[in-house]
Each structure stands twice: as structure tokens, then as C-alpha cells.
């Protein structure tokens, strides 16, 4: 029995810890600001951070695949997808053409970056930095200004709340659901497919995974394509909820995503962690921001310092824990 508990803790400890951090931060917020106890505040976390959750899921997979894997292009992709779709919609193209087109574009750009990383042996940081420059630059080239979306389909998605059953005055938007759905897809991929397990294996040691005969090259390209898919979806969600496309959307979101992934217990060196942790990482990040917003008296700079310090604390707790498990 004790052995069982030990195994359980060793395997899921980091995840449990992230969950505990989230709950304590959340309840601390509720203690400080009674208004934070409203159920809608919890749903707002999902509404506000639906795009962040999506890109963080992709980012998690990329980071897990190791080899310095990182995707800096996510924010730029959101900008590009939102601007491109807004421009297309303005030109009168049907949303049922625009949506798949955007997804294809995201996947293709992701795969292209993956290919550059894999075939030209370019460091992911640099290749995806290029992706960031390219996507944002293209967004500005499409339109220097914000483009309004007036399409009815988009408006319906943006402005029709879905009321949560059994909880009064609680609602989400249809776009809010995309993140959780992708989360389930990512969980399935990472734990129940060869693709996912290969990601973990190569994250630990790419050379070994290659010698084990695993399709390392293909997986690497696919992982970046997957991240591209997530970013494209995030871009769609972004443009749907804001009903606009703009080159300055989601600036710096790549950093928020990396922070969330790390707070969620994934190691930047690859092979350790999972997407469920990332969900809590995103929620922790959102809760911290909420608390600072509910406070409302702090000078603007405290938000930044606060986010920095709390990230440090979260990582500190994580690392203490990981040292402990290593010892045991």
C-alpha cells in the first residue's frame, strides 16, 4: 500500500502539486476579495485565457519533444490568423472557407518551421523566432490597422453566451470550449499514441530515440505542425471573441505560454511534464492576474513584479519537489 502511494506520488506528484498551488492561489484570492468567490470568476479564467490555453498546449508538446524545442511564433501566428481571416471576411469570403484555410495555414507554417529545424539543423529558438518575425510582419503587411469583422457567423459565436446549467449567472462563450477540447486531444495524443510516446522518448534523448528506430524526424515536424494548429485555433478564437484582426494582437504571448508551461511542471529540457499540468499553469497565471486586478490599488508596475515573483515562487516549489522525488 505504502509502496503504491509512493509510486503514485512519484508519478503524479508534480501534477498534484500544481493543482494544489492553483487551488491555494485561487482560495487565497477568494479570501482577500469576496467577489472572487463568484463562479463566473472561475469561468472568466477560461474565457479570458482560451487563446493562451491553446497556444500553451502546443507549446507543451514542442517543449516536451526536447532538443531545446520551443515555439516563439505562437503570438505572431495569432496576429496573422486574425488579420488574414478578418481581411478575407471583409473581402466577402465565406467563413466556412476562411476557417479551414486558416487552420491549414497554421499547420503548414508550423510544419515548415519543423522542417527547417529538422532538416537544416537549425536551433528551434532561431527558427521559430523567424516564424514570429514572419507572421507578425505578414500581419502588418496585410493591414497596418485593426480590421473589424462584421460577419454574422463570427458575431454569433462572439456574442452568444452559453449559460452554465445549475449555476446562476454563469456563462461561457462557444469559443471558450475550443481550448478544453484541444486539451483532451492533446492528452489522448501524448499518452495513448506512438506519436505522443515518441515525443517523450526523443525529449529525453533524441539520439537514443533515433537508434531505437522511432520516427524522430517525422515526429519533430509533426510536433511543430501541431503547435501551429493550436496557434491557428487560438488565432481564430481571438478574432472571434474580439471580432477583429490586428497585427498587435497577442504580443508577448509566447512568453506567457512558456511561463504557464513551466509553472505547470514541464521541464524546458524536454521529456518531463504533461499538458494537464499546463492547464493548471494557465489557470495559475490567470488567477494571479485576476487577484492583481481585483486589488485595483497597486501601481501598474506591481502587476509585472507580482507576476515575476509569483512565477518564481511556483517554480521554486516545483523544483524543491522535483529534487525530493529524485532523492527518494
Amino acid at each position: 500500500m505504502i509502496e503504491r502511494i509512493k509510486t503514485f506520488v512519484a508519478r503524479y506528484g508534480a501534477l498534484l502539486l500544481t493543482l494544489v498551488i492553483f487551488l491555494s492561489v485561487y482560495f487565497a484570492g477568494g479570501q482577500l476579495y469576496p467577489a472572487m468567490r463568484k463562479p463566473q470568476v472561475f469561468f472568466n479564467l477560461f474565457i479570458n485565457d482560451s487563446s493562451l490555453l491553446l497556444v500553451s498546449i502546443g507549446m507543451t508538446m514542442v517543449i516536451l519533444s526536447g532538443g531545446g524545442g520551443i515555439d516563439l511564433s505562437v503570438g505572431g501566428m495569432i496576429a496573422l490568423v486574425s488579420t488574414a481571416s478578418a481581411a478575407l471576411l471583409r473581402a466577402g469570403v465565406s467563413p466556412f472557407i476562411v476557417l479551414p484555410l486558416m487552420i491549414v495555414m497554421g499547420v503548414a507554417l508550423g510544419a515548415l518551421m519543423g522542417w527547417i529545424i529538422q532538416s537544416l539543423k537549425v536551433q528551434p529558438f532561431i527558427a521559430t523566432l523567424m516564424g514570429l518575425f514572419f507572421t507578425r510582419g505578414m500581419a502588418y503587411i496585410i493591414s497596418l490597422t485593426s480590421v473589424t469583422i462584421t460577419n454574422d457567423v463570427y458575431r454569433t459565436f462572439a456574442l452568444t453566451p452559453i449559460h452554465i446549467p445549475f449555476i446562476s449567472k454563469a456563462y461561457i462563450y462557444p469559443t471558450t470550449l475550443v481550448g478544453p477540447i484541444m486539451l483532451i486531444v492533446a492528452i489522448y495524443l501524448s499518452f495513448f499514441t506512438r506519436f505522443g510516446r515518441t515525443i517523450y522518448a526523443m525529449g529525453n534523448n533524441e539520439q537514443s530515440a533515433m537508434l531505437m528506430g522511432l520516427p524522430v524526424a517525422r515526429t519533430k515536424i509533426l510536433v511543430y505542425a501541431f503547435s501551429g494548429l493550436c496557434s491557428a485555433l487560438a488565432g481564430i478564437v481571438f478574432s472571434m471573441s474580439l471580432l477583429a484582426g490586428y497585427g498587435q494582437f497577442a504580443t508577448g504571448m509566447e512568453l506567457d505560454a512558456i511561463a504557464s508551461v513551466v509553472i505547470g511542471g514541464t521541464s524546458l529540457s524536454g521529456g518531463v511534464g504533461n499538458v494537464i499540468g499546463t492547464l493548471f499553469g494557465v489557470l495559475i497565471h490567470g488567477t494571479i492576474v485576476s487577484i492583481l486586478q481585483f486589488n485595483g490599488t497597486l501601481s501598474s508596475w506591481w502587476t509585472r513584479i507580482g507576476v515575476g515573483v509569483l512565477t518564481l515562487i511556483a517554480i521554486g516549489i516545483q523544483s524543491i519537489f522535483s529534487v525530493k522525488t529524485k532523492r527518494s
Binding site: 490586428y246 504580443t251 485576476s290 481585483f294 485595483g296
Partner: protein
């Protein structure tokens, strides 16, 4: 549904006082002197009047402003003042505020959302500022000239309005030969100006510059100095009327500075109180603004608050 009352009266109406008010101000950032003066105005005035101010800084990101507004809605504040970073994308959250019965006053820049989603708009008339700047050029160059434009953040209400007004009023014999954005910051204005100077010879290829705010103006001056341009060689008009701008006029760099008043706190709070008490308000309010000139800049400089 949009059935909820446009702006419920607060429970204390019609006798609400400033001390009863909780006011939410999701400031968009701290990108310029103008903005910091604006923040200071809201904070100081709230302190003086006893208003509970819920303030946050969105660091120029719309998504942060939106999530801050959602937090305010959950806190059931009395009034929200929103200085939107861009015009688009506010419909959903404004609807949420409306459904929660919280009136929203749009401050400074404007929004593209339907006007019945917010209570009022207070702000400078950006177009008018552009027109005023154009008139200065018209006065100074009756025989025509070539000018450059250093514009603000692309797509922002201020940059769009000022550019539009400027072009609308500018005499046809004055030609805008080039226009680039410096994002309202000094750091970015500087290299842009440098690039201009590589392309165009000051005094020969162009005689004047219209700069969308004082911060960029200060950055541009550095580039001009480095290129050996002297104060007065060029006719420069800027917008804002910050201390930096006044200093530039004293030094002879700016020939006019169109005011854009950031001290909106008192005006906005007054309107918010009226909203709480259910009193009628004007939907579009312009702030009082003027144009300053170098002749009395030195005198006025010490009286400037920002």
C-alpha cells in the same frame, strides 16, 4: 439578451456622493508622458474626492484590458471608465457590462462598437488636433512646402484622427512627402527620423515635420541634432503640450504644440456621478484644448502639470 436596463441607477440615487462611488479604470499602459499624466490625474483626483478607484495596467494589450473589465464587472463597480487601446473588439465585454447594469464611459480614444453599449465618450477630438496642426503649416508656408509626418501607433484612434485631420485641412500646395510610424515612443522615433534624414536632405527636400506626439518629437530632435540640424532650421509642429514639448519650444525646436489634455479625471468622475444618480448626460464630450507657441512657452512651462 440585450434587455437589461442601459444604466441602472445606483441604490443611493439620486443622492450619491463621490464617496459612494467605486470606479474602475483599466488603463491601457504607460507608453508616454501623456499616459502617465492621465493615470496620475485619475489617481490623484480619486484620492481627493474619496472615490474607490480600481485601477489596473494592461501593458498595451487589449486582452488584458478586457480581462480587467471582467474582473470589475464581477466586483460590481458603479461605473467603468475605459481608455480603449484600439477601436475594435469591445462588443462582447461591453455587452457583459451592460447586462450587469454597469455604465461604461469611453475615455480618450473611441470604440467602434454600437453606441448603445456604452454611456458616453469623453476625449479629445483627434481630428481637430490634426486640423489645428495643419493650420499652423498653412500659416507658415503660404507658398507651399514639403513636409514629413511622424505618426503614432498605426491603427490607434489618435494616429488615425490626427493624420486624417491634418490631411483634411492642409493646403494643397503643401505636400506630405513621407509618413512613418514611431509608435508614440522616443526610442522608436529616433531611428525612423534617422532613416528620414538619410533619404531626405533637411531644408532642401523638406521644410517641416508634423509629429503626432511630444515623446516622438523629443526622439526626433536627437536624430536631427546628430545630423547637424539646428533649431529653427525646420518647422516642427507636435501634439500633446507636455513639459518635454514646452522645453522643445523654449529651445526653439518646436514652432507650435497642439494641446491634448490628459487631465481627464475630474471630468470623467463628474459624469460618473451623474450616471449613478440617473441624471442626464451628454454622450459626446470634448475636452478643452488649445495651441501653444514658443513666445510664451518659457512662462507657461512651470505651470504645466505634466
Amino acid at each position: 439578451g440585450n434587455k437589461a436596463p442601459a444604466s441602472e441607477k445606483a441604490s443611493c440615487a439620486p443622492n450619491c456622493k463621490y464617496t459612494d462611488m467605486t470606479f474602475c479604470y483599466p488603463q491601457l499602459g504607460a507608453e508616454s508622458d501623456w499616459r502617465t499624466a492621465n493615470t496620475a490625474s485619475f489617481k490623484e483626483t480619486a484620492g481627493e474626492l474619496g472615490i474607490r478607484l480600481i485601477f489596473s495596467d494592461a501593458q498595451q494589450k487589449q486582452e488584458n484590458q478586457i480581462s480587467a473589465m471582467r474582473s470589475c464587472i464581477q466586483q460590481e463597480v458603479d461605473v467603468i471608465g475605459l481608455p480603449p487601446v484600439v477601436e475594435d473588439g469591445w462588443e462582447a465585454v461591453l455587452t457583459e457590462a451592460k447586462n450587469a447594469g454597469i455604465p461604461v464611459i469611453i475615455v480618450d480614444r473611441s470604440v467602434s462598437a454600437s453606441p448603445d453599449l456604452y454611456a458616453a465618450h469623453i476625449g479629445s477630438d483627434m481630428k481637430l488636433e490634426g486640423e489645428r496642426a495643419a493650420e499652423e503649416f498653412n500659416k507658415h508656408f503660404p507658398n507651399g512646402a514639403k513636409v514629413l509626418e511622424l505618426s503614432g501607433t498605426t491603427g490607434s484612434g489618435a494616429a488615425v484622427g490626427r493624420a486624417e485631420g491634418f490631411r483634411a485641412k492642409l493646403n494643397p500646395n503643401i505636400e506630405i512627402i513621407d509618413s512613418q510610424t514611431g509608435n508614440f515612443t522616443r526610442a522608436e522615433a529616433l531611428p525612423v527620423m534617422q532613416a528620414f534624414l538619410q533619404k531626405y536632405k533637411p531644408g532642401v527636400d523638406f521644410q517641416g515635420i508634423f509629429i503626432h506626439n511630444d515623446d516622438m518629437g523629443i526622439g526626433a530632435i536627437e536624430a536631427l541634432k546628430a545630423a547637424g540640424v539646428k533649431p529653427g532650421d525646420l518647422f516642427i509642429v507636435s501634439v500633446d503640450g507636455t513639459r518635454g514639448g514646452f522645453q522643445a519650444m523654449v529651445d526653439g525646436w518646436f514652432q507650435a504644440d497642439v494641446e491634448c489634455n490628459p487631465l481627464l479625471g475630474p471630468q470623467v468622475y463628474e459624469m460618473a456621478l451623474k450616471l449613478m444618480n440617473g441624471e442626464p448626460i451628454e454622450r459626446e464630450v470634448l475636452t478643452n484644448e488649445t495651441v501653444y507657441y514658443p513666445d510664451n512657452a518659457a512662462e507657461l512651462l512651470p505651470t504645466r502639470k505634466y
